[in-house]
């Protein structure tokens, strides 16, 4: 070894050490966020998994390990699958109606209509309200002598008045309308952000080529919004399947099981039946279902791209 090389080796080693120290130092920046994530997300998930294999009742810590018993009971529970079915109906209705309305509203608000900014604010008011509050407002609207039936009577459509929430034929759809009314603003904002990212030149070129408004919507706007649409769809599915506040405020899952949804069933299992073990098993099964659904949706959109 050449003696002259010694200082440079020393320097290299010092530099390496400094880099390592810096790396650890950089980790310190993410540590607070990491700890919060561990404390409030990861740890509860681990506890959920842990409890799902026990007969924990929610308060007594003397619980026993019961293996896959809760999972077996959850999977064979027909009422649970009915609740999932109701959640799927909510999701489908939201995907079709809520997102279509949100898209049309965002296109309208993005065009140079008078008061466009005002509409942007107005459409985003419902999502910032509490779900429980919205649920109670709509409950009042749907009451037998409520606003909706009152309006129908006033305009001479007495034959269409109905017990909206008290009938198994309409309760689910009535709750879905209230949920969509609140959710439309969220999708609207995302679509609007997507629309504002589309270059104006595309529309100008299309317009020079003689494309009509509907053709521009079909061939420029919708294809350009594909990624936003994927995001909106995923959020809509997750939101609709996880619906709780509206159902809790309006029907408590009734009449009978007509509006029972997965989140309400999990809540009931945990806090009414004091069966936290089972509630956690339901939560995990449901969480996995949502994860798979989101993954499928994501893969499908990537395939299209």
């Amino acid at each position: 070894m050449d003696a002259s090389s010694l200082p440079s080796t020393k320097g290299k080693s010092y530099g390496n050490r400094k880099k390592i120290i810096m790396r650890y130092f950089n980790l310190a920046y993410v540590l607070p966020a990491l700890l919060l994530f561990i404390l409030f997300s990861l740890l509860p998930i681990i506890r959920t998994v842990q409890y799902s294999f026990t007969n924990f009742n929610g308060v007594n810590s003397n619980y026993q390990f019961v293996g896959f018993k809760n999972y077996a009971a959850a999977i064979t529970d027909t009422r649970w699958w009915e609740a999932v079915g109701n959640g799927v109906i909510f999701a489908l209705l939201s995907l079709v109606f809520m997102n279509t309305i949100a898209l049309l509203l965002s296109v309208a608000a993005n065009s140079n209509i008078r008061g466009g900014k005002f509409y942007r604010v107005v459409f985003y008011i419902p999502p910032i309200l509490s779900g429980i509050v919205v649920g109670y407002i709509w409950k009042w609207i749907y009451e037998p002598k409520g606003l909706l039936n009152g309006v129908l009577r006033d305009i001479g459509l007495d034959q269409f008045t109905h017990v909206w929430l008290g009938s198994i034929d309409t309760a689910l759809y009535a709750v879905a309308v209230s949920s969509m009314w609140q959710g439309v603003g969220g999708s609207f904002i995302l679509f609007l952000a997507g629309l504002q990212g589309i270059p104006k030149d595309l529309y100008e070129a299309a317009s020079i080529d003689g494309a009509s408004r509907s053709q521009q919507l079909r061939y420029i706007t919708i294809p350009s919004l594909r990624k936003v649409y994927t995001l909106v769809n995923i959020l809509t599915i997750l939101g609709a399947l996880g619906i709780f506040n509206h159902v809790y405020a309006m029907t408590m899952g009734g009449p009978g099981y007509a509006t029972e949804v997965p989140a309400l069933r999990i809540y009931r299992e945990a806090f009414t039946n004091s069966n936290f073990g089972m509630a956690n098993a339901f939560s995990l099964i449901f969480g996995i279902m949502l994860f798979i659904l989101s993954l499928i949706q994501l893969k499908l959109s990537q395939k299209k791209d």
Binding site: I46, N57, N60, S61, N62, L165, M252, G254, F271, N273
Partner: protein
């Protein structure tokens, strides 16, 4: 260098996983310690509090009594004036109060004193987890309450809830019972001169009310009230002993006569007794309809008098009748009732003495008289109950109802059976299910619960 980085990252990730694992696994034993034994910190706080001047103490009191919030604040102010102990009265109205207590108990975040919402089985869970205080230190005032009332939250040897930490864990602030309340003016309008005494008379009255264009009946069938409305008829058809055995699974549900209980709801549906929207109706909605004179009858608790008064102080034309007995029922009808508002003390409160002092204050004669006269609820302290005067007919009849309350209606091995009953009643009330169908579903759920309990 790359190799070194990889090692660093691996060490870091493994440390995080180990940290999570250790925290996750260690939680249980930590819970047990904190729930069953007071921690050093708690103990020292307790000792400190007993020696400290009580004037420094501030108690936190949780309750769910929307209509009595101001009254409780007033009583807390009186207590502070008398003792120097501050009480922060916190209202958590609505049906989720029980859930709030259960969730707070998990984190040892209960207040010093609270009203409890739930049955003896629910409180039993908190007793077993060491969250609530046994009240034998207050034995000197037990004699002030009716013994049957105090029994509700007293766990004796061999109690049906399997509670091993025996003793009394709640004291009553008031008593209550649930009966039919009717609008005397609307009854008169329909040509009905007196309250029905038999089920058949009730159905005849329903027909008369309908004929007069009056909606006969509303109650909170969309919530817990459905089960309470079934309770008098469970006793009437099965009797207390058989009912307890059926609920325990010692006698079959299917041939027990329970079908007759469900058939009474079918009777009401067939006679068109129910108000529109009954299947998802909650009690406050039904109460509002009753006060607005939109319905002639409501099935409600004695606390409703206070609620009606708050909704419309001028609405006084109503009276009370006990659930009428069906001709084919072999037992007397009894009504659900007992402790209206149970007062419970947190086992881990650092202010035990002050908490007991506040509970004693709430149940003493003068406070109970004030509470009864201002809230229209039945006092729990017998000295106050016997000395009260100028009661309205409705309050008097509710008071008399305390002589006919169900002493032991039994408990199903799992609350899910009650849920099936409640949902079933909702569906019968709108003609979407039959008593046979609901009974079968209840039996399936009961068998499942019994199997799980084994």
């Amino acid at each position: 260098m790359k190799q070194h980085n990889r090692v660093t990252w691996r060490v870091f990730i493994i440390s995080i996983i180990l940290l999570i694992g250790l925290t996750g696994c260690g939680g249980n034993s930590k819970d047990m310690t904190s729930n069953e034994k007071p921690t050093k910190e708690n103990t020292s706080q307790e000792n400190a509090s007993t020696t400290n001047d009580t004037k420094d103490v501030k108690l936190v009191f949780w309750h769910y009594l929307n209509d009595r919030h101001d009254l409780l604040k007033e009583m807390a102010a009186d207590f502070e004036q008398k003792t120097g102990i501050q009480v922060d009265i916190q209202l958590f109205g609505g049906d989720g109060f029980k859930q709030k207590i259960m969730a707070s108990a998990q984190n040892n975040a209960l207040p010093d004193v609270m009203t409890f919402a739930g049955g003896a089985g629910d409180l039993g869970q908190l007793v077993e987890s060491g969250n609530v205080m046994e009240l034998s230190d207050m034995k000197d005032i037990f004699g002030k309450f009716p013994s049957t009332i105090l029994k509700t939250f007293t766990y004796d040897e061999g109690n049906i809830f399997g509670v091993k930490k025996l003793g009394t864990y709640a004291l009553p602030m008031d008593t209550n019972n649930i009966q039919f309340v009717y609008n005397t003016k609307l009854f008169e309008k329909a040509g009905i001169t007196s309250a029905p005494t038999t089920w058949e008379e009730l159905l005849a009255d329903v027909d008369k009310l309908k004929a007069a264009g009056i909606v006969p009946f509303a109650t909170g069938i969309g919530s817990w009230v459905a089960g309470s409305l079934a309770a008098p008829y469970e006793i009437a058809y099965l009797g207390e002993e058989k009912l307890v055995n059926v609920k325990k699974g010692q006698e079959p549900l299917m041939d027990s006569g329970y079908l007759n209980v469900l058939k009474r709801f079918e009777d009401l549906y067939k006679h068109g007794a129910f108000a529109e929207g009954i299947a998802t109706m909650d009690l406050p909605t039904a109460e509002q309809m009753f006060v607005n004179e939109e319905v002639a009858m409501i099935y409600d608790g004695s606390w409703a008098i206070g609620v009606f008064n708050q909704m419309n102080p001028n609405f006084t034309q109503y009276d009370v009748f006990s659930p009428p007995k069906p001709a084919d029922a072999t037992h007397d009808v009894k009504i659900p009732g007992g402790i209206g508002v149970p007062l419970v003390i947190n086992q881990h409160t650092p202010n035990k003495e002050a908490a007991m002092q506040f509970v004693r204050f709430l149940v003493e004669k003068e406070q109970q008289q004030k509470y009864a006269s201002k809230s229209f609820n039945l006092p729990a302290n017998m000295e106050a109950a016997t000395s009260e005067g100028g009661m309205t007919p409705a309050l008097r009849n509710f008071s008399l109802g305390m002589n006919h309350i169900i002493e032991n209606g039994g408990t199903y091995p799992a609350p899910s059976v009650e849920t099936v009953l409640q949902k079933g009643i909702q569906l019968i009330a709108i003609g979407q299910s039959t008593p046979d169908q609901v009974l079968k579903e209840m039996d399936t759920e009961l068998q499942k619960a019994l199997k799980e309990k084994k």
